[in-house]
């Protein structure tokens, strides 16, 4: 079973994504800050990260840069309410950039694509 790390300082977003991705059959880990996420990634056993950008403490973009140092090939998806960070070159380190939406299908698809899970997403 693949493990997805969800990083967001919004508790309810974490709850939503936890439900969505455990329903999709992933193991889900949660981090409420960039610092926590870096720590958890070090401990290993994570296949993909979904990363918010605007957070208390270090930002998602800084977290992204830090994660890339040790885990070069781990898929990381930036997931923000803002689309403006797309033009920030730091965001280009991510494998995907998706704007938050009530429709999580795109996010689900992207996760599957990056993890090469062949099971089609049930819409």
């Amino acid at each position: 079973m693949k493990t997805v790390l969800l990083v967001d300082d919004e508790e309810h977003i974490l709850k939503l994504y936890q439900k969505v991705f455990s329903d999709d059959g992933f193991q889900v880990k949660l981090a409420q800050s960039g610092e926590q996420a870096i720590q958890m990634a070090k401990e290993g056993d994570i296949d993909l990260v979904i990363l918010d950008i605007k957070m208390e403490g270090i930002s998602g973009l800084e977290t992204l840069a830090e994660l890339r140092k040790s885990k070069r090939n781990m898929p990381i998806i930036l997931n923000s309410a803002y689309s403006t960070y797309k033009s920030d070159f730091q965001s280009w380190l991510a494998d995907a950039y998706l704007v938050k939406s009530a429709n999580v299908d795109e996010l689900r698809l992207k996760v599957r694509e990056l993890l090469e899970v062949k099971v089609p997403v049930e819409r």
Partner: protein, 587 residues
Amino acid sequence: MKNMIKLEKTVPLDTLNALLDKIPLGVLVCDASGVITHANPHLPKDQSYSDPNELLGRNIFDLPSLAKVSSQMRECLALGKEFVLEGLKYMRQDGGEAYLRLKSFPVLSDGKTMGSLSYVEDITEGIRLKEELENGIKRLEIMSELGKSLKSTHKLEDVLRIVMIAFTAREGLAFNRVFLLLLNQDETYLEGKMAMGPANQEEAGRIWSYLSQTKPSFRKLLESHDEHFEERDAWVNHLVKKIRIPIQDKENLLVRAMDGQSCEIVNCSIEERGSGKSLCELLGTSSFVAVPLASKGKSIGIILADNLISGKSIEREKVEFLEVLAYHASAAIESAKLYEKLAHQVAELEKANQRLKEGSERLVRVEKLSVMGEITSQVAHELRNPLAIIGGFANSILKKLDPNDPNYEYLKIISQESQRMENILDNVLNFTRPERAHWENTDLNEIIEQTLDMLGKEIEDGKIWAKRNYCSPLPLILVNPDQIRHGLVNIFRNAIAAMPQGGTLSIGTSLTNASVKMSVADTGCGIPRERLDNVFKAFYTTKPDSNGLGLTVASEIIKNHNGFIGVESEEGKGTTFYIEFPLKKEE
């Protein structure tokens, strides 16, 4: 008879003559047949004698000076009638014209006329003074009328016309023709500006007979705005417009006259070469007077006047008056010019003020918009998370829920409505995002293609045929491509939504001198006339699944590009949007 002089035989003739010599007037005595018996030394001398004594023995009827009064003299001698004559013209010895006052009495003796006694007085000086006085009064009247007329207007054209009428009117200076030349704005050229006067004898005759019939007063003439003037002055105006003299040409007759600031009578018979001759030839005249115009010591132009038609020579005496008139004309012209300049400057200032006002209004608007934009953008972003959460949970629960569950429908509504709110946020964010200067010279055709590509799936699913009719190549326009794409997406989506059963989406581009145009036509349901005015208003929608912002955003984007968007629609046939971008981006 009261004035009769009776000679007493007792008075010796010598004594009588000596007495007559003492009278401080010219005295001439003749006998009944007109033979002069006495002429006193005060008798004015004409060209036929130098000493009164030469007259003795000559007949009074032979004197050339008195030829005109011979009949009265005969009556005086024959019938004893006395007579007085004022202003009898004669030639002085020096050849000058002079005027006499003659008073003759019959000389009676025993009731019989023995001869006549005449007082002869030279009254030339008096007549001259009287004439001068009359002329002076007339000129004062002219000046007063002219002054009143000049004061009544600030328009340069009117001032010039009034001055010219004063030169040509019979009550004024009575010149046949007058030409006015003024310095140009840079004071580098003396340019023919305006002229007045007939083209030829015939025309002059017509004008004079017209004037003698209507007898307009000088005042009336000055006030007239008769079109006939323009018409009849066509030829002289044509002539005057040919005159253009560089002020550097100090040898030029007119430049010299202007620099000298004194009136000059030019006799064309002695102007054998150079500027004088060519000017004489142009005007076709034998002599003219040049009257410089100067205000506060500064030359502003020159007036030329002649008597081409009547051939009357220009009197030296007129020149003095000309100078006075020129002085007043100059002042009026100068003040009219200043007034014109002032009016021009006021207009400029008003324009500048208007621009400033618009600029500041724009600035305030931009400032407001940018503050509003920042706040709105902030709020929109903050709303995105809770929306994603609400909608996300609703969607997630929906998936697991049996569609027959009583809550299924309500959850569906939550999901749809949150989707709608997200769409609103998308539009608001795209519209208010703080502008990063991302303007590029762009090919509109390319942008349209990219946008159609982006909507490829929607177009295909909607069974829409996208028909392109591009004008190619199009000149590049300076736009923000992202914004334009966003605007076009909204317009295309609006068209697709109008054709739920499928249809044709025709997109065309065209080019004019000043703009690039495009049109987007659908074959959909059309918009009722009463709703057409509102299509670009925010939150105005008739479609249940639309947020009512799409076309508003599109129109705002196009307006931000100094562009134009318009719409035409026919119910049941379809709707066409017209968009226009200026080729040069204005400030």
